[in-house]
């Protein structure tokens, strides 16, 4: 079936199998592999994207459900060479190791800070408990959230 989605501000369309997930559609049909395929059952958060502004696991959404709707992926976060503050904070704090969970976490943290600009530690841990990371033990990701929160706070007095 032909599926048409507005991805990162641009309308894109491709033919896809009816059973295709939004994640497969993004990765295999639209060549947007930034969203990752680690568990494909909604446990790890590596495939996190925004669908109509709402954070979802794109592996749990059918591509057909996104037809005619707005999707924002990790590829839409940076402004050209200028990283989103959350991305920059991940680089600066050493929150990236293998990086496979990173796109999903960057999206989830950006979503969290857009709703709660200065979350306390427990709030961060709870909000990101659906994003698995196997490399970092999460400590430097917590550092990244704090740094991004501080920088965003300074930018918007």
């Amino acid at each position: 079936m032909l599926i048409r989605v507005r991805v990162n501000g641009e309308w894109r369309e491709a033919d896809a199998w009816e059973g295709s997930s939004l994640l497969s559609f993004l990765r295999d049909e639209l060549q947007l592999p930034g969203s990752k395929n680690a568990c494909e059952q909604g446990e790890c958060g590596s495939c996190s994207v925004w669908l109509e502004g709402e954070l979802v696991c794109s592996c749990l959404v059918l591509a057909a459900q996104a037809h005619g709707r707005d999707v924002r992926t990790v590829e839409g976060l940076a402004d050209g060479d200028r990283l989103h503050p959350v991305q920059q904070a991940f680089v600066d704090t050493g929150a990236v190791q293998c990086g496979f969970c990173t796109p999903g976490l960057v999206v989830a943290v950006a979503d969290l800070l857009s709703r709660d600009p200065a979350p306390d530690e427990l709030t961060v841990r709870e909000a990101l408990a659906g994003n698995l990371c196997r490399c970092t033990g999460y400590q430097k990701i917590l550092d990244a959230v704090r740094l991004a929160s501080d920088r965003l706070g300074e930018a918007t007095p």
């Binding site: 930034g34 590829e75 680089v91 990236v96 990086g99 196997r134 490399c135």
Partner: protein
């Protein structure tokens, strides 16, 4: 594929340097194996055995061949060359022709237009099996009447280490029996890659792996190709932790690509990933520790049995480690240590972070705590009375030649400030209770406990192997100054090797602009990214090559005449006795290039008494864990971890912290939640819904102390730091739970049932029989089984 990574920074060795691959990774543009794409791509799928042990009677391909979109359906008959492969021994069929030996073993492969069509076609292959009696228990495998899984029997290796007087008596003995479960590496990136047939009849393979050249040594004979026709390029690696040491989809994708003449991609889903890579060996350990009344260790007698599963993988080396480390990082004058690795019909086990040391640590540290209790000594004090130091003689009969700051490692860990005492339960956020907000309790049965563990491990390959690392360094004039290019086949799995290599090049050549080539087989082997070895081996190779480049630069300076004094490089200039005498870029009309290989000092095998200079050097670590246990509900919350890492020298301290924090998380996982559940050889929890790894809510803060006591004779004195936190963490966390509950907890992972009295500790069975083997080497070696990889031919 990323076309090389480029970073401009002034930072060299010893500083916190931002990862060179950080920016593409946060943007989602870093290409992992599962992200590869090619025009006219076909997708591969694998049919796997549903039985742990069965004879293949018949394979009917007709329906699969006729399925829509199918381009190839291949079995063992389509393997053109050698029919087997394997990491240490070539005992594993590419595709089986006779028997299957574990549930999940590949039986046939398919290439089709889409992943879905490939999967459907695979399900239309009909295999008739004659089910055979499986061997599912590691001690049962030793029975004379157990089914024989290989021609040479079920014993893969049995070794013993005999040191001092094995019958020595002691004033006080403690004895324990311990078990550890089968852990999964659970790297988030799935096994994936793409094979592209080449015009010269060879194949190009792009793959997520840990050692390109040993992959090639196993792939080329199967394809009946000379090695130089199999060119391998590293795809982005989404974590490894040992799981990518063994081949996964490499040979299958190459077979399908060569058969169809089209690029073939294979990318496993999570369930298949659990079936397709090796796991951490489950273990059973019998350990007696004897001491004088003052706490001085006198003797250790131990036996460890590990389940290697269906094929050898790297199990012979794992049991070598587990056995030689079974007495712990302590001076013990008398020891008798035995290790046995067996074949069973369980999934193959092999490399996972720690490589035999975590199992040993779990046992020797539990015995140290028992001994401390028996003697009425503080557990940390007991350890300090016995720790190894430089010159200490190991159970293998040789003294430690290099750095061994074990006392400092223990003391600095002990001295990390304790986390604050908990608030009164009624004041606490329910999220902070064990089990979180879903907990039905309100903190009534909470008890806090503290545990401590010390451990150690070899860095680099042991027992006579020469796992060298080659690097090529080229210095040339770029448009805006001198540029260094570094080319190595060393694999970046996320641990930070790419950054380390660029730091070393900057440090050695005094040049900012370093370009790191994508790892490929265009240079010689870099050895494996495992055994905590790449920082010093890769750093050593780049350092050697840089110094050769510098010599040529200095020769050019001297050829111009008029320069005297000791020459050096800094800030893109040549210095003589510290004074600038030339701009580097002016000397680079012709680029300067050098290729060098770094070899670690030679080691030996074990002799018939298990004595020998088997290990290159050692890294030590300690951890103090603080836990809180809800003793009514059997739930655990780890409150705080203090981890000390013996780094030799920290090339990138931020990276060392990352290894400490992440490594601690994996050790914590094995302590309280991670275990592959086998049901008749079948993995019952092959998903992230059912196999739990620590989340943000499970991991406490980790306070990392880095001990820097440089190792003599290695570049910058740097050891390897990748494994040590994982080794000590399981032991420390379980010790803390014992302290909180008073329960013996002799099995990891600890389950809620263990904490509320619903499951008794495993009863201590008698020490298992000692198998008859020709000697301390792996049994297949005595039977002339082909080596899997020529790089691992022992040099002595």
């Amino acid at each position: 594929m990323s076309a090389g990574l480029r970073e401009r920074t002034r930072r060299g060795v010893g500083e916190n340097v931002r990862r060179v691959d950080g920016v593409p990774k946060v943007k989602g543009s870093f290409a992992y194996g599962s992200d590869l794409w090619h025009e006219h791509l076909l997708w591969g799928a694998t049919l796997r055995s549903p039985h742990p042990h069965a004879r293949i009677v018949r394979i009917d391909l007709a329906e699969a061949v006729a399925a829509p979109g199918v381009h190839a359906v291949l079995t063992h008959e389509d393997v053109p060359g050698k029919k087997t492969y394997g990491l240490e021994f070539s005992d594993q069929p590419v595709l089986p022709w006779d028997r299957v030996l574990y549930t999940g073993q590949p039986v046939a492969i398919v290439a089709a237009e889409t992943p879905e069509l490939a999967r459907r076609a695979a399900s239309r292959i009909h295999v008739e099996y004659e089910v055979l009696e499986p061997v599912l228990d590691m001690v049962r495998a030793l029975d004379a009447d157990a089914p024989r899984l290989h021609e040479w029997g079920n014993v893969l290796r049995h070794l013993h280490v005999e040191h001092g007087d094995p019958d020595a008596e002691a004033e006080v003995w403690v004895e324990g029996y311990y078990e550890t479960g089968m852990q999964d590496q659970a790297a988030l990136g799935p096994e994936a890659g793409m094979a592209i047939p080449a015009e010269d009849g060879g194949v190009d393979l792009i793959v997520s792996t840990q050692w390109l050249h040993v992959d090639r040594q196993q792939i080329a004979p199967v394809l009946n190709l000379p090695e130089d026709r199999v060119r391998i390029t590293l795809a982005g690696v989404g974590g490894a932790f040992g799981s990518r040491e063994d081949l996964h989809m490499q040979i299958h994708a190459c077979l399908l690509a060569r058969y169809t003449g089209r690029p073939v991609k294979m990318s496993y889903g999570r369930e298949e990933s659990f079936l397709a890579h090796v796991h951490r060996h489950p273990s059973r350990i019998w350990l007696r520790t004897g001491a004088a009344r003052d706490g001085t260790l006198v003797a250790v007698r131990g036996r460890i049995v590990i389940d290697g599963g269906a094929f050898a993988s790297s199990t012979p080396a794992v049991i070598g480690n587990a056995t030689t480390f079974l007495a712990g990082p302590y001076e013990v004058p008398n020891a008798y240590l035995e290790g046995t690795a067996v074949y069973t019909n369980n999934p193959p086990c092999g490399a996972m972070r720690g490589f035999g040391a975590p199992q040993a640590c779990f046992a020797h540290e539990a015995n140290m705590d028992r001994l401390a209790a028996e003697l009425g000594l503080d557990p940390v004090e007991l350890r300090l009375r016995n720790v190894l130091g430089p010159g200490s003689v190991l159970p293998t009969g040789v003294p430690i030649r290099g750095s061994a700051p074990v006392r400092e490692v223990v003391e600095r860990c002990r001295d990390v400030p304790m986390p604050p005492e908990p608030e009164a339960s009624r004041l606490r956020d329910p999220m902070t209770f064990p089990g979180g907000a879903g907990n039905v309790g309100h903190g009534e049965g909470l008890r806090r406990g503290v545990g401590f563990a010390v451990g150690y491990k070899n860095v680099a390959y042991s027992e006579g192997f020469d796992d060298f690392h080659q690097a090529r360094v080229t210095l040339s004039a770029g448009p805006s100054g001198p540029v260094v290019e570094v080319h190595s086949a060393g694999v970046e799995c996320g641990q930070g090797l790419s950054t380390i290599l660029t730091q070393v090049a900057r440090e050695e050549l005094g040049v900012d602009d370093v370009i790191l080539h994508v790892a490929d087989t265009g240079v010689d082997s870099a050895g494996s990214t495992s055994a905590s070895r790449q920082t010093f081996m890769g750093g050593g190779a780049v350092q050697l090559a840089c110094r050769a480049v510098a010599e040529e630069v200095f020769a050019r300076v001297l050829a111009r005449g008029g320069t005297a004094g000791e020459l050096g490089l800094a800030d893109e200039r040549v210095l003589a006795d510290g004074v600038p005498v030339a701009d580097l870029v002016d000397l680079l009309g012709e680029p300067v290039s050098a290729t060098r290989s770094f070899h670690h000092r030679p080691t030996t095998g074990l002799d018939e008494r298990g004595q020998g200079d088997v290990h290159v050097m050692f890294a030590f670590g300690a951890q103090r864990a603080v836990v809180e246990v809800d003793t009514d509900l059997g739930l655990v919350r780890v409150v705080h971890l203090a981890t000390t890492i013996d780094a030799g020298r920290a090339i990138n301290p931020q990276g060392v912290e990352g290894q400490s924090e992440g490594g601690s998380a994996q050790g914590l996982g094995l302590a309280v939640m991670e275990e592959i559940q086998l049901r008749e050889g079948h993995i019952a929890n092959a998903s992230f819904t059912d196999y739990l790894i620590p989340t943000f809510l499970d991991m406490p803060p980790v306070a990392t102390e880095i001990v820097e006591d440089p190792e003599p004779g290695v570049p910058y004195g740097a050891k390897g730091v990748g494994e040590i936190a994982t080794i000590v963490s399981t032991a420390a966390v379980v010790a803390a739970i014992r302290d909180a509950t008073g329960r013996p907890l002799t099995r990891a992972p600890v389950q809620p049932d263990d904490l509320v009295g619903l499951r008794e500790p495993p009863p201590a069975p008698p020490w298992p029989p000692v198998p008859h083997v020709p000697g301390n080497r792996p049994v297949p070696e005595y039977h002339g089984v082909d080596l899997g990889q020529s790089d691992l031919k022992p040099t002595s």
